[in-house]
Symmetry: C2
Subunit: 621 residues, 2 copies
C-alpha cells in the first residue's frame, strides 16, 4: 500500500483533532448502547476521517442548513448514523440530550438510518451504494448549474463498493469531471457477516477507481495528518477524488477492533462504560469548522408564462412526443432540468436536450445513476425530469423507493409502456410499472391517453411534491381533447356517457382508445357505455367512480395494458373497497407472457382489445 | 490500442470464415428488412466475432440443446437478435424459411429480443447488462458444481458496459476465478442516440476489466485470425477473459458503417437489396463447429425423504429462522443451492451455508448479481434460493422481471419485511415488495405467519415453477400450527371462526398475530370474528374469501404490513372484483412514511395494530 500523505498538521492541532475524534467515538458508543441497537463499530472506523473533515475541510454554516454555499456531507454508509449524529452534536447542530435520549426512538428525527427529517441531511441512506450516486447529482448541479464552489463529500463503506451503482457513479463522476466531488471510502475490511470481498486490498480499489476516471488517494484512515493532507488535495483536485482510507472496524475499543461478529451490535452497558472510560470519558467539545464563502442568494427564477404545445383534435400523436414537446416548453423555467438513459430519441427527452443542452444530462445506460442524479439535482432546488423506457425504470426501483424516503421531488417518465410496443417483445414492455410505482410512498402516477392531456400533466409535474411518474405510449393515437382543457392531478375525464348508462368502460392511456371503439360497437347493439379516462392513476378520481357505480348499477369494465396485479384495476378496486352497494368489476389486463407482434395483435392476444372490452361489457349489461 | 493477436489461421480457412460472416450479415439484413424492424447495424458489427466463434470455438450439439456438455452462448446485447437467429440458421438449428418469414411476427419463437422460446437460448435478454451476470451464474455452476468443461460465451454491447451490473458480474467472475467464462464486448462506438461514453477508448475498457480481476484481450473485431487467437486463448485461460473487440457498427454496408442514426432501424428494401448484393448475395452455408466432449448423463439426484424442522406450538420463532432451518433441511437434495447478499446472518441463509458450504454462493452486496446468479444456476438445472432483505430485492427488480420472461425457476427470500423491523427505519423496510413481486408475470408470493407454515412453504418452493417469493419477518412470534399441517400454495388457513361470523379478519405474516389478538378483544365485546391466514398471497385462496363473504354478510377487514397499494388488500379485492353481492372491505395498511420505533409502536402508528383492527371490525359489525 502506498501512503502518499504529507504531514502538515502538528502538535496542538493534532491533539485537538484526536480529542474530537475521541468524542465522536464516545458519543457513537453511548447513543447506540442507550438505544439498544445501531452500528457503533462501523462508526468507530470512520471517526478520525469525520473529525478531520468537520474541523478542517467541510465548509458548512450549521446554523443555516439552507445556505446555498454549504458543502454537502452524505453518509452513503447510512448505518454509521451514530457517527453522523455525533458529528451533529460536535458542531452544535443538535444537543447532547437529543442524541442520548431520542436516537432510534419513535418520533425522533435521529432515526436508525439518516433521513432528511434532519435539515443537515440531504437524502435518506441505508440502502447501500446510493449516497455516492446522489452525490454525483449534487456535484453536477454545483459544477454545471450553480457554479458555486461548494464541495460534495460522500462517506462510503467498503462493503458497498460491491454495488454496481457505485461504479456507475464513479464512471459518471469521471465522465463529467466532477472536481467538486470526493468519495471517502472507509475500508474497514469487515462487512456484516465477515470479511469483505477485497478486505484491505487497497491497491485493487486504487486501480478500479483510477480506471473509472477518478483520482485515488490511499491513506491510513487513523492518521489524522495524512487524512488532512488527503482532504486538502481532494478539495484542490481538477477532477473527482476517492480517498481510500484503510481503517479498523471498532477502532478505539480494543475488545471489538477488527473482530467479526460486531456488525450492527451496540456494546453492552458495562462494555460501553469501560470503552468510554478508556477513550477518556465524555467530552463537551464544540468544533467550529470552516465556513462557506458568502454567496449571492439564489435569484428567484423568472417565471415566464408557460406556452404548452398545441395539437389538433384527431391528429395522430404519440404521448411520448407530447412529453418531449411539453418538457421543451417547460424549459423556459430555469429550474427545470432533464436527464435520460441514452434513449432520448425514443423517450423524446431529446427535444429538451436540443433546446437546452446546458440543462440536459446524458446518463447513458445506467438507470440507477439516472434516478440518483435526479435526486441529487433536486437537493439543489432543481426540478429534474428523468426518462427512459418504462421497463427499464425497474432497474432503478430501489433508488425510487429511497427517493420517496428522501422526500425527493422528481419527475420520471417511462416510455414504451405495455404490449402496445409490439415487435420488440416482452423485455422492452413495462407491464409492472403501475404496480411498482403506485406502491412507492407518496407517489403520483399519471397515464395520459392523448397528447393534450399528456402535455397538461407534464406541466403540473414540475411543481408536484414527491415521486411523480408519467407513463407514455410508443404509438401514435388521435388527440382526444381540446387545447387548454383542464387535467388536474387526481381528476379524470368523462369521454362518453349520459345520466345513466348500462355499463362504464374505464381505461387509461392506450386502452382509452380501445374503450371508445368498444363504446361505439356497443352503441350499435343498443348498449350505452360510459367511457372514463383515468389519466391520474394515483391519486384516483374516486367520485367519478362512485358516480359511475351509481349511474350504471355498479357495472364496470376496467382495461389496462399492464399485468393483472396492482395496476389500474387494483386502483379502481381499492377506491371502491369500502362501498356498501353491489359493484361488479370486469378487469381486463395482460394475462400470460406476451411475445412479439403488432400492437393490435398483442392487445387482442392479451385480452385488452376492443373485442374483449365489448364482450366483457355485454356480460355485465 | 495494443493488438495482441497471433495469426494461426490462413488461406482457405480464412476465406471460409469470411464467407460465413458474410452470410450472417446478409441474413441479419434480410430478416430485419423483411420484418420492418430490428437492429441490423448492431448485428453487423459482431458478425465476424460470431462467425469465428461458432465455426471454431463454440462446442455445441445443435441437435440436442439439452446436452449438458454444451457450451453456453448468451447474447447479452439481445437487440442483436438478427445476428443470433442468423447464427441459428447457419448451424442448421432453424430453417431459412423460419428466419425470413417469422422473425418478429406474432406466434414466432424468433422474437424481437431472444427468449427461451428457443431451446438454444438460456435466458431472455433485451434489458442491457443482464446477460453477462446470468453467464456468471452458469459459469459458477460449471466450475463449482457440474465440474464439466463447458465454456460460457457472453456477447456484450459497449453501451451496456455503463450498467453497474456488468461490473458486479466481472467482479464476481474475478472473485470466483471463473476460467470458463468469456465476455466478448462488441465495441462499435455507437449507442442508440449517438456515441457511447468511451467510444473506441479500448485502453480504458482494458484497465477497468483488469482492475476487476478479469483478463482483457484487445482485438480488431473484424480481423478473423486475431479473433480466433483471442477466443483460443480465452478458452485456455486460468481465469475469466474479456475480449474487447474494436468493431464498426454497420460493418459491411458502407452506407451505414459507423454512422449515427442507424440504431434499431432496418434497411429499406432497395438499400437492403444493394447491401446483400455487395456482400455477395444469399448463401447456403451450413457450418459444423466443434462438438462438446461426451459427458456422462446427469445422474438423477437421489431424493432422500425431507425432514422439515419441527417447532412447538406457542414457541417464539422468527419466520426468517424457519427459512434458514427449512433451507438447511432441503439441502439434502443435491440440486438445491443457496445464495445471499452478504446478510446471511440476518436472512438466516447462513444455516444452509454452514451445512453445505460447497453449494452456498456469497454474492456480497450486489443484489442484481445475486438474482442473476440464481437465474444462471437454474439454467443448469439447480434450484437456487437467493436471499436478502425484502427492501433490497427492489435493487434487482429488473432482473426479477427479466427472469420471469426467461421462465426461470428461482426462489427468492426477502427478510425483514414491513414496519415490524422497528428501529432501523424505513430504508430497511420492505413495504412495496408484495405489490412489486405480485406484478411479476407468473410469480408466486408467499408470506407465512409462523415457523411451521414457513418451513412447509419453503419445501414447496423447491419444486415451484417461475419466480417464487417468500416474505419473512424479523421478530419472533408464536408458532400457530402443528408440525405436519398442510400448507398448499394457493391455500389459506382458518384460525378462528364458526358457521357464521360477524366479521372476517384477514391477514398474512405478522398481521395474522394482530388479527388473532383483535379477535380475542372483539369476542369480549360479543363480536365474533373469523381469522384467516392468507399465507399464499399469489395465488390466492378465492374460495376461502367467498366463504367469508357469505358467512359474514360481506364484512371483511384486511390488514397488511405494506403500503396500501398493490399488496394483500389489492389481492383480496381483485379476487372479489366480479362478485355480484355486496362486500365491504376495510383495508388497513401502512399509510404515511414510517420512522424508527419499536415494532408495536410502528404497527400502531401505521394503523395495522390490534387497536386499529378492532376499530375497523366494530365499524363493520
Amino acid at each position: 500500500m502506498t501512503m502518499e500523505a504529507e504531514r502538515t498538521l502538528r502538535g496542538e492541532e493534532l491533539t485537538q483533532l484526536g480529542e474530537l475524534a475521541a468524542q465522536l467515538r464516545v458519543d457513537a458508543i453511548r447513543c447506540s448502547t442507550r438505544a439498544g441497537s445501531g452500528h457503533p463499530t462501523s462508526s468507530l472506523s470512520a471517526a478520525d476521517l469525520m473529525a478531520v473533515l468537520i474541523a478542517r475541510h467541510l465548509r458548512y454554516d450549521w446554523v443555516n442548513a439552507g445556505n446555498r454555499a454549504n458543502d454537502h456531507l452524505i453518509f452513503s454508509k447510512g448505518h454509521a448514523s451514530p457517527l453522523l449524529y455525533a458529528v451533529l452534536r460536535a458542531v452544535g447542530a443538535i444537543s447532547e440530550q437529543e442524541l442520548m435520549e431520542t436516537y432510534r426512538q419513535l418520533g425522533s428525527r435521529l432515526q436508525g438510518h439518516p433521513t432528511p427529517a434532519l435539515p443537515w441531511v440531504d437524502v435518506a441512506t441505508g440502502s447501500l451504494g446510493q449516497g455516492l450516486p446522489v452525490g454525483v447529482g449534487i456535484a453536477l448541479a454545483g459544477q454545471y448549474l450553480d457554479h458555486l464552489p461548494f464541495h460534495v463529500w460522500a462517506l462510503c463503506g467498503d462493503s458497498e463498493m460491491a454495488e454496481g451503482s457505485i461504479w456507475e457513479a464513479l464512471d459518471k463522476a469521471g465522465h463529467y469531471g466532477l472536481r467538486n466531488l470526493t468519495a471517502i471510502v472507509d475500508v474497514n475490511r469487515l462487512g456484516q457477516r465477515g470479511p469483505t470481498e477485497l478486505e484491505w486490498d487497497l491497491d485493487t480499489y486504487r486501480r478500479r477507481v483510477e480506471a473509472f476516471g477518478c483520482h485515488p488517494i490511499v491513506v491510513d484512515g487513523h492518521d489524522l495528518a495524512a487524512i488532512d493532507d488527503a482532504f486538502g488535495r481532494a478539495r484542490q483536485a481538477t477532477g473527482p477524488t476517492v480517498v481510500l482510507a484503510r481503517t479498523i472496524k471498532g477502532k478505539g475499543v480494543p475488545d471489538v477492533e477488527n473482530q467479526p461478529g460486531w456488525h450492527g451490535k451496540p456494546l453492552k452497558h458495562d462494555m460501553a462504560e469501560r470503552a468510554v472510560q478508556a477513550l477518556g470519558g465524555v467530552r463537551q467539545i464544540r468544533v467550529a469548522g470552516p465556513r462557506p464563502e458568502p454567496s449571492p442568494p439564489a435569484e428567484a427564477p423568472a417565471a415566464p408564462p408557460l406556452e404548452l404545445p398545441r395539437y389538433e383534435k384527431g391528429e395522430q400523436v404519440a404521448t411520448r412526443n407530447a412529453y418531449g414537446d411539453a418538457l421543451r416548453a417547460l424549459g423556459s423555467r430555469p429550474d427545470v432540468v432533464a436527464l435520460d438513459g441514452e434513449v432520448s430519441d425514443s423517450t423524446r427527452a431529446d427535444k429538451f436536450g436540443e433546446a437546452y443542452p446546458d440543462r440536459f444530462f446524458e446518463m447513458f445506460i445506467s438507470e440507477q445513476q439516472l434516478v440518483a442524479a435526479a435526486v441529487g439535482l433536486q437537493v439543489r432546488g432543481y426540478r429534474p425530469f428523468a426518462a427512459t423506457f418504462a421497463a427499464f425504470l425497474s432497474r432503478a426501483y430501489d433508488f425510487i423507493r429511497m427517493a420517496a424516503i428522501s422526500r425527493a421531488d422528481i419527475a420520471l417518465s417511462g416510455s414504451h409502456a405495455g404490449v402496445e410496443i409490439g415487435a420488440d417483445g416482452p423485455s422492452q414492455m413495462g407491464l409492472e410499472d403501475l404496480a411498482a410505482l403506485r406502491a412507492v410512498q407518496g407517489s403520483t402516477v399519471l397515464y395520459p391517453s392523448d397528447a393534450v392531456s399528456c402535455a397538461a400533466l407534464v406541466a403540473q409535474m414540475a411543481d408536484r411534491k414527491g415521486i411523480v411518474y408519467l407513463r407514455t405510449t410508443r404509438g401514435k393515437y388521435p388527440v382526444l381533447y381540446d387545447n387548454g382543457d383542464d387535467f388536474p392531478i387526481g381528476g379524470s375525464k368523462l369521454l362518453r356517457g349520459g345520466k345513466t348508462d348500462d355499463v362504464a368502460l374505464i381505461g387509461a392511456g392506450v386502452t382509452v382508445h380501445n374503450c371508445l371503439a368498444a363504446a361505439d360497437e356497443l352503441a350499435r347493439e343498443g348498449i350505452t357505455a360510459r367511457v372514463i379516462d383515468l389519466y391520474s392513476v394515483k391519486p384516483l378520481d374516486q367520485q367519478r367512480l362512485l358516480d359511475a357505480v351509481r349511474d350504471t348499477g355498479g357495472r364496470l369494465v376496467v382495461v389496462e395494458d399492464h399485468y393483472p396485479e396492482g395496476g389500474l384495476g387494483s386502483a379502481v378496486l381499492e377506491a371502491l373497497a369500502d362501498l356498501a352497494g353491489p359493484v361488479r368489476v370486469k378487469h381486463l389486463a395482460v394475462h400470460g407472457l406476451p411475445t412479439s407482434g403488432t400492437s393490435a395483435q398483442l392487445m387482442d392476444q392479451a385480452g385488452i382489445g376492443v373485442h374483449a372490452i365489448v364482450s366483457a361489457a355485454r356480460a355485465l349489461a
